[in-house]
Amino acid sequence: MLTCRDVSLSYGGRTVVENVSFSVERGDYFCVVGENGSGKTTLMKGILGLLPLSGGRIEFQGVKRTEIGYLPQQTVVQRDFPASVREVVLSGRLNRCGLLPFYTRRDRACANDNLERLGISSEAGKSYRDLSGGQQQRVLLARALCAADKLLMLDEPVAGLDPVMASELYALLEKLNRDGMTLVVISHDLKSAVSYGKKILHMRRGALFCGSTDDYAKTDLYRFMSGMGGDGA
């Protein structure tokens, strides 16, 4: 569905991502892990076309750029933004509107479906800025689902959530994945990545590991990074 070949990206004159190659297959739950500053977000922005590649190639198979859902990290601007939940979720449908200036009935139905799917129908009329962090994240996920048919890219979906809300969100993602959605998830929480993901890409500028979760769990890298023994602990 998505293939990256020797992808490099630089940010502010510095190479942040160097020669990363991997491929995501249909139905994958693909986790990108690594420390802060290891280039995870930059790589995702490169895939989405938000940043220009300084080298390599990215190819999509069977999915168009406008069929990808994206859950970015929250920005400061959003926290006190006066927008209703419905307005935010509907904006996910804009990539389907083409040249049409307004939403169609189908767009509204899709937004309602996704509000229901994530259990936030009752919040539709509320203001985004009055919601809790967990609910805000659900709203953004609902918006991403409105934009996505097959592929969903999530950047730190559980950042800032308490453990209960985080595990609820993981359960939601697992369900989406079972229903056929391909997921690419950035996380710095290794343990949850290993317990939920099917494939792992461990980054530190380049790819330290790329392969199945089972293989990854056996590596010294994982044991070291997760603090479960190995050479460093």
Binding site: L48, R65, P82, S84, E87, S91, L140
Partner: protein, 276 residues
């Protein structure tokens, strides 16, 4: 009550006031619409920067005996482009850079004026606004600009919302966010060109910032904020112009004071727990 009606009847008997009313209502409406996005995107300094560049341009064109609008429109469009670039690219130093551009263009304008014509009433009017400044041509121009702003705003409303709320998501899902940022900046420049001589270069940016900030105190959906800003801006303009006529105060300052009062009112309402 009859005193007020008499006052209004007298007000509308002057054709220059009717012209000012037309231009003012249109400028107030357009700047309120654009202001919501500018304030939410933390771009309100662009409006301020543009108005100062506007003063510099007017001062220079006056001392060269050129038609002010013919010079101002292209210069302001260019300035909008530059200011947008500055605030997009260097997030941290953006506001400082805009302050630098604003005060420099104000200084250049003042120097040019003092070397040529001297500080006459025209210059004073450019800074603080004058109700007498609106000609028939200004009315036509403001109607054209307002029609342009309203049509483009309504047609791109949903995309403007998306780009304002979350530019990364919008771009990631295929919206040309840069285009909408540029559209907002250019339309703002046009609105400032039209409104500047009546409101004054130092006060026009308040028309952009106040209604949006005021509406956000109480309203919590984007659509409501936009509608409330538009209505509020027009109402404040009317009250302000009547106040200015009744007390013989400068029109720009009177409108700003009314906007400030509205802001305080909405702020108090928010503190009392009123949300809609």
């Amino acid at each position: 009550m009859t005193a007020l009606i008499d006052l209004l009847a007298e007000l509308f008997s002057y054709s220059f006031i009717v012209r000012a009313m037309i231009v003012g209502v249109l400028v107030a409406l357009c700047s309120a619409l654009l202001g919501v996005t500018l304030v939410l995107k933390r771009y309100s300094m662009i409006g301020d920067g543009l108005s100062h560049v506007g003063f510099g341009t007017l001062a220079i064109s006056m001392s060269l005996n050129l038609a002010p609008l013919r010079v101002a429109i292209p210069v302001m469009l260019l300035a909008a482009f530059v200011l947008l670039r500055v605030s997009e690219n260097s997030k941290i130093k953006g506001d400082a850079a805009i302050a630098l551009i604003s005060s420099s263009s104000l200084a250049i304008g003042v120097i040019v004026v003092s070397l040529t014509t001297g500080m006459n009433t025209d210059v004073c009017n450019y800074m603080f606004g004058s109700i007498l400044a609106m000609s028939r041509g200004d009315v036509y121009l403001s109607v054209t600009v307002a029609a342009l702003v309203l049509i483009l705003y309504v047609l791109s409303y949903n995309r403007i919302f998306a780009v304002t709320f979350d530019e990364n998501f919008a771009r990631g899902t295929g919206i040309k966010a840069g285009r909408y940022n540029a559209l907002i900046a250019f339309l703002t420049a046009m609105v400032i060109v039209v409104g500047m001589r009546m409101m004054g270069a130092l006060l026009i940016s308040s028309l952009i910032i106040f209604p949006a900030l005021t509406s956000m105190r109480v309203f919590s959906s984007f659509k409501r904020v936009v509608i409330c800003s538009a209505v509020l801006s027009v109402v404040c303009f009317f009250v302000g112009i009547i106040l200015s006529f009744a007390l013989s105060t400068p029109v720009g300052a009177s409108i700003v004071i009314i906007n400030l009062a509205a802001f305080c009112l909405f702020w108090a309402a928010e503190k009392l727990g009123l949300r809609a």
